[in-house]
């Protein structure tokens, strides 16, 4: 029960932060801004070693929010630097996130072809 509850709480909290930003800032925050903000923040926090603790507590609650994707990218990059040096720094992030990116693009295309917007 522990990990499930933690996933719910951590995930909920990360989303809550986003909602507060959306409601309390004067500028018109679009979903695009949130996505870019979260992936970047996750990547930076990961680089500072601050995101891994959140993952240990929250599991999917930390990896599923887009900040978790940023964490994945940074960790991939750091690991690849250890193994392959400079080339690793360049390719490591993309390699680690490959499954997610490919899935998003291909499933995205298929869904778009199969379905029509309804509104």
């Amino acid at each position: 029960m522990g990990p499930l509850l933690n996933a719910f709480l951590v995930g909920g909290t990360l989303c809550l932060i986003g909602q507060l930003v959306m409601n309390l800032t004067k500028a018109d925050i679009t979903p695009g801004h949130i996505l870019v903000g979260y992936i970047t923040t996750g990547a930076v926090l990961s680089g500072l070693g601050l995101y891994q603790p959140i993952v240990e507590i929250g599991g999917a609650g930390a990896t599923i929010p887009l900040s978790g994707f940023g964490h994945l990218l940074t960790q991939g990059s750091l690991k690849a630097v250890e193994e392959s040096g400079l080339l690793g720094a360049i390719s490591g992030g993309v390699e680690a996130a490959a499954a997610g990116i490919a899935a998003a693009i291909v499933f995205g295309y298929v869904a778009a072809v199969l379905f029509n917007p309804k509104g």
């Binding site: 679009t30 979903p31 917007p117 309804k118 509104g119």
Partner: protein
Amino acid sequence: MGTNKKRGMQSIAFTNPPVITSWASIVGPKEGEGPWQKDFDWVLDDYLYGEDTWERAETKLLRETVKLAINKASLETKDVEVLLAGDLLNQTITSNYAARELQIPFLGVYGACSTMAESLLLSAMLVDGDFYARVIGAACSHHYTAERQFRFPVEQGVQSAPTSQWTATAAGAVIVEKLGIGSYITCATVGKVIDMGQANMADMGTAMAPAAVHTIKQHFADMDRPTDYYDLIVTGDLASYGRDIAEQLFIKEGIVPKPNYSDCGVLLYDESQKVNAGGSGCGCSAAMLCGPLLKMMADGQINKLLFVATGALMSPTTIFQGETIPGIAHAIAIEN
């Protein structure tokens, strides 16, 4: 430099007042569920109108509305000398392609949501100026083509702001003639672009309200009419919050219109229809005019109407570049 017809700084009086001899409005499903459903000529069952893209549906919507206005006057398309029409889409494609099918000499106009007033104003000028004897002024908008161009894809999960407005799926067309039976277009005021520094795309009412008040104030001054001259003054699509702000500005400027001031964006939908602040789009004011309002004039319920359609003149490009939203409003007086 004076002319016979210019009044004051921005207005004109029509010395041979053109007559509105026919009108028509076709609206989409949501508008057809609103409080004025009986006053529109047709209500569509769905947003595609039998076409395969929303853009084609909107073109059909405008085209059929123009044809309907012509039919209602027992005329044929070839009897109309000029078509003045506009819409919200880039390059006003809706109007261009509708005109292609209609084969009426065509002048496209763009005033964002103020287009109906612009079409009507220019139609009246062509007829009063004795250039043409029978002209059609029209405007159109479609909810899904507007969302596509200005906002977000339909299936994207976005939380809408309470100040946001629902672009109406609607078209209105009016036949303006030299001679005939109907209400008269007596004078008009061409608006200036007014920008009070608002940059929130989700709140266009507040961007446009200053322009509406500016034009209305100028109209009263130019035409030397008291603030209680008209039975009803309607703005195009300021919607609830824009209207509230306009009311405050009227008080501040000392020109509170009496007895009635309202806004087509507020009127078009029912509170239960979940449209946040209200309706918007060229079709909002066009359909309200070419349905409920002209009907009320024909019935004698109102005899003096000031129709002030409002437009927000930005584009997604300028917004991304950090520009603010300029507004405009044109006023047209229709009297029995």
